[in-house]
Symmetry: C2
Subunit: 220 residues, 2 copies
């Protein structure tokens, strides 16, 4: 959650055991491998992952900071019910992405706009069945828009929140109609940015993300 806003960089030496544990547990919680409401105790987990309590504690602390674990009054931590908070998290992510596109509309360079238009065209000319290419194109476009905000802290936050939905987005079960619709919305977003219109860009992006979210939520 922070999601502790920023993530730790990979440690410069050693296996970075704490980092590994953090990533593993985080994934296990998000994917639901560890059931929501499960009570976790340090010693138990420590011998489960085969490490001592020290690095485990660090991982647990960060996960609690991210809001993925809740400290229990009687000791130990509890796995939060991510599924029930998915809409809340989604709302935050949308807000952050719109903030980014607003800034990007003011700060994007002509060169970046060129790349964005190229991505828009590529997507439009792409074969409908090429789900992998579409996924890559989509990611590149949105990543570039975020980076154009020139706000690295914001970019980091969005990327962290995005992890919650990546598993869903990679599925990409879309009808040809839906796919075309989303592609035209990409054009709309970039056009608003090119026009240096933050309000229009934010609105277009919001509608776009909400539509995609609903599609995925209903199909997946």
């Amino acid at each position: 959650m922070q999601i502790s806003a920023g993530g730790m960089k990979p440690a410069r030496r050693g296996p970075a055991l704490a980092e590994q544990i953090y990533v593993s547990l985080r994934e296990a919680i998000i994917t639901g491998d560890i059931a929501a409401g499960t009570r976790l105790r340090e010693v138990e987990l420590a011998e489960l992952v085969g490490a001592s309590r020290t690095p485990l504690r660090e991982a647990l602390s960060r996960l609690a900071g991210d809001g993925l674990l809740t400290p229990l009054e009687k000791g130990g931590v509890e796995v939060v019910d991510i599924e029930s908070e998915r809409d809340d998290i989604h709302a935050i992510r949308v807000g952050l992405d719109c903030t980014a596109v607003r800034l990007a509309a003011e700060r994007v360079t002509e060169e970046e706009l060129g790349t964005l238009w190229a991505l828009v065209r590529e997507r439009e000319e792409m074969d409908v069945s090429d789900t992998e290419g579409r996924s890559r194109n989509n990611r590149e476009l949105h990543d570039l828009i975020r980076r154009a905000s020139r706000n690295p802290r914001l970019v980091t936050m969005i990327e962290q929140y995005q992890e919650f939905f990546l598993s869903a987005e990679t599925l990409g079960r879309l009808t040809a109609e839906e796919s075309q619709r989303l592609a035209s919305e990409h054009r709309e977003i970039v056009a608003a940015m090119a026009a240096r219109n933050p309000d229009a860009a934010a609105k277009a992006l919001r509608d776009h993300i909400e539509r995609a979210y609903k599609s995925l939520r209903s199909s997946g």
Copy 2:
């Protein structure tokens, strides 16, 4: 910063040394008591705060997660230059607050609206010299709007980011004209919420915060 999104709850036992260290260091960094760019080493800091490295490490880890410290390649961490990132952080905070007011416009109850109107009127009838009352009124209004979003995770995040600006907001050097202007904007925001109009509410809040930020930034 997550700013690790969520903060740890106060531990159930003991002095919660790690928490104390975290809060102290955080404040010291935000206020600038610890100069930006300062290199911090664990052992050194540990004996400075009079604790062992274990709780210190936990605090450091969380601060790094919040993006207030950056791990150095050659060991140790560096205090980031908050002042240079203040605009970036502000942009994020505005985005989050607008997200909250959007949700609030859809979900606010009639009872909450009553309280909001009362706060708006109280502010309008308030004496210009009552800076403290104005500050309290302002905080109550904005807090209530955020809570009306029914997104606790979002509320927590905003509160954390707000800490970066609290010291400035408490100053409240405003002219009578500025104060009145901000008060009328409060009315505008609540009116948009009452009309269940997220777009208008978000726009009004954005303008409001930006105006207040600029006033404070130029005066302080």
